[in-house]
């Protein structure tokens, strides 16, 4: 048996095992396509990734959206280049659109769809290099778009928001649309130091994971008191009401008149009471958009958590802030430095300086304990001003 024959044979045995079981199975799916399963099997047998990046292709109309993939074992399988397809907000795909995706996958690819990628694009794998140009032309003629690779804004993802969820403080899907209306250039041209991701959640439960998986996260919230709606709360009965009262981490809720009352001043919008109240408590009415910066999952020394940058009142302010962040990022990040890495390197204070913003307590989880820092003369005067007029009590 030659090496390659053995590798393929052993690989097939392994793949056969993976094919088993009740969970929806990607091997069973792959075997219904022209995807090179043998190559995959061999890599499992060899315990070694057999792919490598396949250089860059520049295709008119597709400055981003194409990933070249070749293998180190052309004797088993060659390439599985992929195009990344932008889909509508909230990942709603109409049946017509889905048909088209399938048609293109059958005609140009290997009859396989990646639906969905973890950043919520559809991918069409297995398009030979020489067909990519034609694919792009035909695809765009069909009114469809590819994108979301390279050093550009990657796909903006959102939770379902107002479309289906009562917790939503902002219409996430509409905001994504608005983002592309205004900033499509950011997504189109890979001209940034590194990729940039924007994700949007309708409430602090953050189903879009915008606070960690995105360079910029937008979260809908509120700042007044959660609304205790109608008499729904009384109907829940004593035990459930007690559970609601006890769920509040800031003790903002107390019993009153058989129902509850909430001290809005203490509410930190944690959503716990809402989750227990079966619709009888709703988000407050004074909406706030929270803007987070610098989340990422692969920092140089591990994942980096985002920091809250600011709370704003309007979508317009959100968009303007994004623009400002992008400007700072473009001008100050090193090559292949994500926004989070930049902030890690220069410190949140340094980043705020670049943003021309004053530091605020909301930018921090905790305050410093280290007493070594300089104080300028201007600050000394400012402080003296603020604290003047203290009484004395003997």
């Amino acid at each position: 048996m030659t090496d390659v024959v053995e590798e393929v044979a052993k690989g097939r045995e392994i793949v056969k095992e993976i094919e088993k079981g009740k969970w929806p199975n990607f091997i069973r799916e792959a075997k219904k396509t022209r995807y090179p399963v043998d190559l995959y099997g061999a890599s499992l047998y060899l315990k070694r990734d057999l792919f490598t990046t396949g250089g860059y292709v520049s295709v008119p109309g597709a400055p981003t959206g194409i990933l070249m993939r070749v293998t180190s074992r052309p004797d088993i399988g060659e390439s599985t280049n992929v195009v990344r397809v932008l889909i509508p907000s909230g990942n709603f795909i109409s049946s017509e659109m889905m048909d088209k995706f399938c048609d293109f996958a059958d005609k140009y690819g290997v009859g396989m769809l990646h639906a969905l990628s973890t950043s919520h694009n559809v991918e069409i794998p297995g398009i030979p290099k020489e067909k990519i140009r034609d694919f792009v032309v035909e695809f765009r003629e069909a009114g469809l778009e590819i994108g979301s690779t390279g050093d550009a804004f990657r796909n903006t993802t959102t939770c379902v928001g107002s479309t289906l969820c009562e917790y939503a403080n902002l219409n996430t899907m509409a905001m994504r649309d608005a983002f592309y209306d205004r900033f499509n250039d950011y997504a189109k041209y890979p001209t940034f130091p590194h990729k940039v991701k924007l994700k949007i959640s309708g409430c602090p439960l953050d189903c879009a994971r915008s606070t960690q998986k995105a360079d910029i996260g937008v979260v809908g919230s509120w700042e007044d008191t959660p609304e205790v709606y109608g008499s729904g709360i009384q109907k829940l009965g004593n035990e459930k009401i007690d559970a609601i009262v006890n769920s509040c981490p800031t003790l903002a809720i107390s019993r009153s008149n058989g129902g509850i009352s909430i001290r809005g001043d203490d509410c930190i919008q944690c959503m716990k009471c809402l989750r227990k109240a079966e619709g009888a408590i709703r988000p407050g009415k004074k909406k706030k958009f929270l803007i987070y910066v610098g989340g990422k999952l692969r920092g140089k020394k591990g994942p980096l958590s985002s920091k809250l940058l600011m709370k704003v009142d309007t979508e317009e302010e959100v968009m303007n802030t994004i623009e400002k962040i992008v400007e700072v990022f473009t001008d100050h990040a090193a090559r292949k430095e994500r926004l989070g890495d930049l902030i890690f390197r220069i410190g949140m204070k340094g980043f705020l300086d670049l943003m021309e913003m004053e530091p605020k307590p909301l930018n921090l989880k905790d305050l410093r304990t280290n007493v070594f820092y300089p104080v300028s003369e201007a600050q000394r005067n400012e402080i003296a001003e603020h604290f003047s007029g203290g009484g004395s009590n003997d």
Binding site: E17, S72, P88, S89, M97, G143, P303, T330, K365
Partner: protein, 365 residues
């Protein structure tokens, strides 16, 4: 802002994703947008949503394949169900599951059984397994240290009953990524698997064919140095003391390889990840098993480790406690005691100065 260099050719095109979104959601959903007042789990995988005018819709959630790959054959069948039951539209959730919005309960139940017939379990809300996701892994990617999809496939088989039948103490999410890039969303799920390389790559002859400058740029810690040999040829050198073994250079240039990935590649398990935008913030998964070997197809050791964690959690957690909440309450000491997992030094040094400022040396070596 720095000036941008954009070729003319490209300038003319691309309008971004299809929109407005209202064109792509079911007709009967449009009226209710922004008016929802409550929802309720009707039965596993089936939620009733009620709007302020009493209108109702039903969402049905079905499990995805680990890495979201499907044949067009299957997608066409699913799409046919979307046409028939869900107003000619379907969506994928944050965790890549399929979701259908149906206008009445009977139809939703029918859809549910059709999906099951196609092999897609319906479930995954409330105190259940919500999702199992993976990145591309060996299946497509150039960077994988472990084949995330096949690991998740095994875990899916193992945990499937918690998706629809059995209850758990709380929500459970599982994700695997083939390498530290964490495309699968690992570190953010209750149980996360992360591929890791544990050797330093070597530079081979083949490096000649690579874009050396470009390769050096991929290194996140500046461990790659350009060098000119005595014969004038250019090459690169990896500074071992700086290299963190991330593997990005290996993916970028075929001339840089891991010598014995079959031994040194593997994956770590971290637990307790959880996203949140409340004041308490997101919790990242913390590493509880620093290394497991790649042993396809069955990954017995990985399955054993995950089962141990899940079973202990089920036994010990109070109702409503996600894994992170549970560990918060009992502490790491008890976690290791109760699970019997061995503790390795790799879990140490978190936030110690050396772990932050120095690289490989400070990380437990």
């Amino acid at each position: 802002m720095k000036s941008r260099n954009i070729s003319q050719e490209v300038e003319a095109m691309i309008e971004g994703p299809p929109r407005p979104y209202l064109n792509y959601i079911p007709e009967y959903l449009k009226e209710s947008v922004g008016k929802w007042v409550t929802h309720r789990l009707e039965e596993p995988g089936l939620i009733e949503h009620v709007d302020s005018e009493g209108r109702k819709v039903y969402t049905v959630k079905a499990a995805a394949t680990p890495n979201g790959r499907y044949s067009t054959d299957t997608i066409r069948k699913i799409n046919a169900l979307a046409r028939k039951y869900a107003g000619g539209s379907m969506r994928f959730t944050q965790a890549l599951n399929m979701e259908f919005v149906v206008s009445d309960l009977a139809k939703a139940r029918e859809l549910k059984s059709e999906l099951k017939k196609l092999g897609f379990p319906v479930g995954g809300w409330k105190e259940h397994l919500w999702s199992l996701t993976s990145c591309a892994g060996y299946f497509h990617c150039a960077l994988a240290a472990t084949d995330a999809p096949s690991v998740i496939q095994r875990l899916g088989n193992e945990l499937s009953e918690y998706f629809d039948e059995k209850e758990l103490p709380a929500k459970l999410t599982v994700a695997a990524s083939g390498c530290p890039s964490s495309c699968g969303g690992s570190f953010l799920t209750d149980i996360s698997i992360n591929g890791i390389h544990t050797e330093i790559p070597v530079v081979t002859e083949g490096v000649k064919n690579c874009d050396l400058q470009g390769t050096a740029f991929t290194c996140p810690v500046g461990a790659i140095q350009l060098k000119t040999l005595q014969n004038g040829e250019k090459t690169i050198e990896i500074r071992e003391n700086l290299c963190i073994g991330c593997g990005l250079c290996v993916g970028a240039c075929g001339g840089i390889i891991f010598k014995t990935p079959e031994k040194t590649d593997g994956h770590a398990i971290s637990i307790g990840g959880k996203a949140s935008a409340s004041r308490y913030g997101t919790t990242l998964g913390r590493i509880v098993v620093p290394f497991l070997p790649n042993e396809p197809p069955h990954y017995e050791k990985t399955v054993k480790a995950v089962r141990t964690i899940v079973d202990t959690w089920i036994r010990d957690a109070r109702k409503g406690e996600r894994i992170a909440d549970w560990v918060d309450r009992i502490g790491w000491e008890k976690f290791f005691e109760k699970t019997g997992l061995p503790f390795y030094p790799q879990s140490m040094d978190y936030l110690d100065i050396r772990a932050i400022t120095t690289l490989r040396d400070g990380s437990g070596r």
